[in-house]
Symmetry: C2
Subunit: 350 residues, 2 copies
């Protein structure tokens, strides 16, 4: 069988710590299986600045592009606050260069996790939705962008074609789920949101079995808290998606566990935990590796079709949680290493 190439962007601060954990689990779960891979470690983010003078070195982009999937941990931090190009610029450039226009963020509160939610159990229970965030346009990329002495300007722009493809992505996903889409915008104020809603209505006609709700972003910020269990697929512009998907992550009470995926029309997808590089706990060996391990599982499932291997990984993580082998952020005493070893052992059990 073909050997898959996985680009490894180990990132900054806790990034390398959790990446090591993810890769250990990947090695363990694929051992003695037909799935074969090779890793290519590439400097990126702060690490890219340090090693190659740019958050997205040209060689990193080229090799990421040539890979079958990209694993990223977390980037950025105070070390590069004054850098001419910050680590985050590398991430935006990578999304743009690879055309990763759709960010997919599952938000699920399993019965085992209800107790961890900051929400009351009766609200949190049965939450299971996916945020589909447009990732390569909108306020993040519009021109002109000006930072002058006395004023600044950002531009939010959307093409119909950009809206249309993310809508189709979301509606197709809903077809494989509970057939319900919620369109988020601020169409009572913004022109881009008026267009967003217009295109949504058009695309919706191609999916007659899918129920569609239209909601303003401010009402959605309420809905995620008030009735999270009622959503299925949420389709949102880039900037609103940034805010809402973090809000959604927070209601799970488990941001140290959540993976995400960014995909384009073709080419490799990018997988990363949703949290940041946590400078405050870096180097202490206590970062929660579960997000990166779930990220590896998502990659196995979505890029490589290895649903069973992915399932073994997520089951092993659940087992660690049940056994309370968890890091301090989850109320435990375990180190990154101990959690990882537990999960490695669990996935290698016959």
């Amino acid at each position: 069988t073909e050997i898959k190439t996985i680009a490894v962007l180990k990132g900054d601060y806790i990034g390398p710590e959790i990446m090591a954990a993810g890769l250990a689990v990947l090695a363990a779960v694929t051992k003695n299986t037909t799935f074969q891979y090779r890793l290519v470690a590439l400097p990126f983010g702060g690490d890219g600045i340090d090693q190659a003078g740019d958050p997205l070195p040209a060689a990193t982009l080229a090799q990421a592009q040539a890979s079958d999937a990209i694993l990223l941990s977390a980037i950025g931090g105070p070390k590069w606050d004054q850098a001419p190009k910050r680590p985050e610029q590398g991430l935006l450039a990578l999304r743009a260069a690879l055309g990763l226009y759709a960010n997919i963020r599952p938000t699920r509160i399993s019965d085992a996790l209800v107790a961890r939610s900051p929400l009351k159990p009766e609200l949190a229970r049965q939450t299971d939705f996916v945020i589909v965030r447009e990732l390569t346009s909108g306020a993040y990329f519009g021109e002109p962008r000006v930072l002058a002495e006395t004023y600044a300007i950002d531009t939010m722009a959307y093409q119909v074609s950009e809206i249309s493809r993310i809508m189709h992505k979301g509606f197709r996903l809903a077809q494989r789920r509970r057939q319900h889409v919620t369109i988020v915008d601020k169409s009572n104020v913004l022109a881009t949101s008026k267009l967003w809603r217009r295109v949504a209505r058009e695309v919706a006609q191609d999916y007659p079995a899918v129920t569609v709700d239209y909601t303003y972003v401010d009402a959605m910020a309420m809905g995620i808290i008030a009735r999270p269990a009622t959503f299925d697929v949420i389709i949102t512009p880039n900037l609103f998606g940034d805010i809402l998907s973090d809000e959604a992550a927070q209601i799970t009470g488990s941001i140290g566990q959540i993976p995400s995926m960014s995909i384009g029309e073709s080419g490799p997808a990018l997988y990363e935990p949703i949290h940041g590089s946590a400078p405050d706990i870096a180097g202490q060996g206590i970062a929660n590796p579960m997000s990166m391990i779930h990220t590896v599982a998502m990659m196995l499932s979505e890029s490589f079709g290895e649903k069973q291997l992915a399932q073994r990984v997520t089951a092993a993580v659940a087992q660690a949680i049940a056994a309370q082998v968890v890091t301090p952020d989850m109320g435990g005493q375990a180190t990154t290493e101990a959690v990882t070893q537990y999960i490695v052992a669990a996935v290698t059990q016959p």
Copy 2:
């Protein structure tokens, strides 16, 4: 003593129902006091479109401008979805014309209300912060704004002077509170946010006793859920403020009770409940009047310095809640009328 003029914008759907409640309480609490006022009812929003062909008729603007304070209930709704100018345009135009650049949204979860919060009690308890939202610039007003066949454009723009005045407003408020400001932006991506943070740092130097935190809007969307009791004053650009202040309202579990205030350099301030016009329950006599009644209290306190009268109103509302004389949205059986009569009676007790 001088007779105060209060502009009354009764609004749409449940708007007139709750406005009547607010005015009944205003009449009752000021009876036999030295506070004297005259009401001027003005068409606005959908009501403005219906009565005068525009959501902000010229006469409404002129008379609002000449008033001492403006009471607004809630506007908009499906009736005007296809109108050339929607009701919301009237609100944006009014904010701009009166220079109401600061929107002030208190978010408080009193011990009596902890049980109503969707958050677990240990998180909700002691929440007491104020969101200071910039209201007359940013993405809501930037030019160009284009809605074309194949694309759309919005512009987010900020002047240093616009940022500076809202910062001073927020910092001064913090001086009278717990001396803590949280600055919200997306300065890792947006130019306007880079400027926002730069001006914040400059203004902060004028307030050495105030502690300042800087946070990205996505992290803030998490923080409001994860640790609401840790915030004091939150200063945010217009668009982020729209989202975050509704999220904040939701964690109180009491959006039917929350007032807000919009103020400028001079001229009348505008007071309104934070919720919408609730077309689904309009005409049924079950709208929660507490938001409008709290809005009246806020006006008495902030525009007219009538702290004691305001205090009587809020105490009367608390009494109604304690007696469970509340509308269905708060789990009760009472009508708008019954709640209002209870509160009217309570404020007139000696």
